[in-house]
């Protein structure tokens, strides 16, 4: 069975974010970019499903600039079969991204489309469900494990205090979160093989974003801590402040 995995290139989660001069984005100088970790779970899930089926291909799709090619090659090195780079601008509007990706996926014979539950940079959780709507397919979000069984896909979701099991008819869209799919390391042979795998670059369809970022700010500095005293004598005052001022007791 063919599976499409949608990836996003994001700043490394260890990045110390600085706001750019316009105040609407982040400084990109010196920032290391990686595949969004949730997308790595999705890719791992896809690779295991392909291995279980023993047939089919895993295709990667991303919307971004030429630098996203590196992220796609990382995915190819992990074991995906081919990749498509939709050359275009990533906006904060999840619907614009979903429409651009849908235009590519509509023409592909792939009953299963996987994405990370959210991008590690903007945390919006929009693209997956919106893509499902644009494609007119059912969607399960926050899936921790799935299995294709004939014409359906069974999904497990973790809910408050329990597990929810869903069954969706194929074709379907799933967004994957941390669970069963600890991503594999790209093997060094895989890295070499990735160079020979097809990576197609095409222009993304133009979609006018309906959402713009007005302002981006770092959280205010935390107020400095306060020492209320030392030793056992300070405890009553500490308890009083925790109760009356901080209201945590």
């Amino acid at each position: 069975m063919n599976i499409v995995v949608c990836l996003k290139r994001v700043p490394d989660t260890e990045t110390r974010v600085r706001i750019d001069a316009e105040g609407t984005g982040i400084e990109t100088d010196g920032v290391k970019y990686v595949m969004s970790p949730y997308d790595e779970f999705a890719l791992e899930g896809a690779l295991r499903a392909r291995e279980a089926a023993g047939t089919g291909e895993v295709a990667l799709v991303t919307l971004g600039d030429a630098a996203s090619g590196e992220t796609l090659r990382q995915g190819l090195a992990m074991g995906a079969d081919r990749a498509v780079l939709l050359d275009g601008t990533v906006t904060p509007d999840g619907l614009a991204t979903a429409k651009a990706i849908a235009a590519e996926i509509e023409g592909v014979d792939a009953p299963l489309v996987l994405l990370g539950v959210k991008a590690a940079d903007d945390d919006q959780q929009q693209v997956g469900p919106m893509l499902a709507v644009v494609l007119g397919r059912p969607c399960a979000t926050g899936v921790v494990e799935f299995a294709v069984e004939g014409a359906v896909v069974r999904c497990e979701r973790e809910t408050e205090g329990g597990t929810e099991v869903l069954e969706l008819p194929l074709p379907a869209v799933l967004t994957i979160t941390k669970g069963a799919y600890e991503p594999r390391y790209a093997s060094l042979k895989g890295i070499m093989a990735a160079k020979k795998k097809p990576l197609e670059q095409k222009s993304a369809i133009a979609v006018e974003p309906g959402l713009v970022v007005e302002r981006l700010e770092l959280p205010p500095d935390r107020p400095p801590g306060r020492v209320v005293g030392e030793g056992p004598e300070a405890v009553p005052e500490l308890v009083r402040l925790l109760r009356e001022e901080a209201k945590v007791l």
């Binding site: 260890e14 990382q74 093997s187 060094l188």
Partner: protein, 398 residues
């Protein structure tokens, strides 16, 4: 035992060398770096104090493809260029010199000679299984009385009616006790005849072959160092590596291994520098971080300078190796300079860490102790000095 969990290592790259590496080279490095971070650093301190090599990492190294990574894909290897191979050695030694030694021996001293001097049957039989880590190899050249002077070796191989008879002792053999196969160098002619030295592929389960763990080490504790004894070991005729024709063959192997060590030293130094920098910033003394004191800043400045110089040497050496223009003397310079650099950086890092620096919870003293072996093996620092001396003066001092 608690170990410090530091922020994810981002590399030391003061001169933006990343821009010189290809995307694949960076991807290889980052993959091995992540693996070392996830799998090696959490266990290596414990393994070190327990004096064990973490053998469960071997199949993982095989799966990643780090063993003999610069050998061709047709033998189950990754087929990487030598710069990528060097970066692998760097990252492994950021974990521990014992881990890098394992990979150096397996790749450069066992797989390389089988590939370069072995028969096609020997290649087919051993290389894929050594690449996957299913089989472990060791390299027997050094003897108790012939270290820096291997030409004088007294391990002999005598022709018999249907094969070879080997006798002798090999010492300081990394992987010796756990090896499935040993590449053994032995004298087939008169003692002292450099052209009589030939290489043999010896399965370690043959009668008369034994290995003894080297006791009492204070360095490379997370590594198997052994003595090999060959007592009337009978081998079939095809145990000989047919393309070996003298001492130059094991020396070619050493050039491969020393090349990797020149990169490995950088990895160990990076680990120590990063640890010292982080500690210096967080350790408060006299109401401020010790990294704000001039004496520690001099230390850190020296470290980052030396690491950067070593990186440039290794980088260019690697490009020359890939071009086919690298000479063994250039490898001598890099091994000598970069390991010496790593020794200095490790010692200064340990000192910056103060009393904490003597604990296994920190990596610097472990690296410092390991690097004394690295300084001494694969051509001692002093012998490399003499090689360089001979190269520039035209006069051999040994």
């Amino acid at each position: 035992m608690g170990f410090q969990v530091a922020a994810k290592f981002q590399g030391i790259d003061f001169y933006n060398l990343d821009a010189l590496f290809s995307e694949e080279e960076r991807m290889v490095r980052d993959t091995v770096r992540d693996w070392v971070e996830d799998r090696v650093l959490p266990v290596i301190g414990q393994a070190y104090v327990e004096r064990t090599f973490p053998t469960d990492l071997i199949p993982e190294m095989g799966e990643l493809g780090v063993l003999g990574a610069n050998l061709p894909e047709k033998y189950g290897c990754a087929g990487l260029n030598n710069v990528a191979y060097g970066l692998i050695m760097q990252e492994l030694e950021r974990g521990d010199s014992g881990l890098r030694s394992f990979a150096s021996v397996q790749g450069a001293l066992v797989m390389y000679p089988i590939y370069a001097f072995g028969s096609e049957e020997q290649r087919q039989q051993w290389l894929p299984r050594l690449a996957s880590g299913e089989k472990i190899g060791c390299f027997g050249l050094t003897e108790p009385d012939f270290g820096s002077n291997p030409a004088g070796m007294i391990t002999t191989a005598r022709k018999t009616s249907d094969g070879w008879l080997l006798n002798g002792t090999k010492m300081w053999i990394t992987n010796g006790s756990m090896a499935d196969v040993a590449v053994v160098w032995a004298q087939t002619g008169e003692i002292g005849d450099t052209k009589g030295i030939r290489g043999f592929v010896v399965p370690t389960d043959v009668a008369g072959f034994s290995a003894r763990d080297q006791k009492g080490k204070l360095s490379l504790l997370a590594s198997d160092t052994s003595e090999l004894v060959l007592e009337d070991v009978e081998l079939p005729a095809d145990a000989l590596m047919p393309e070996t024709s003298g001492l130059k063959n094991p020396l070619m192997c050493l050039t491969q291994a020393r090349y990797g060590i020149a990169w490995g030293g950088i990895g160990a130094a990076m680990a120590c520098y990063a640890e010292a920098l982080e500690y210096g910033i967080n350790r408060i003394m006299f109401d401020g971080p010790i990294a704000g004191k001039q004496i520690q800043q001099v230390r850190l400045a020296e470290m980052v300078t030396k690491i950067t110089q070593a990186q440039l040497v290794a980088y260019h050496l690697g490009r020359m190796k890939d071009d086919g223009t690298m000479t063994p003397q250039q490898v001598s310079l890099a091994k000598r300079a970069n390991v010496d650099m790593a020794c200095e950086v490790a010692r200064e890092a340990r000192r910056l860490l103060g009393a904490n620096g003597i604990l296994i919870e920190y990596a610097s003293m472990r690296h410092m102790a390991n690097l004394e072996s690295v300084y001494t093996y694969e051509g001692t620092h002093d012998i490399h000095s003499l090689i360089l001396g001979q190269t520039v003066t035209g006069i051999a001092a040994f």
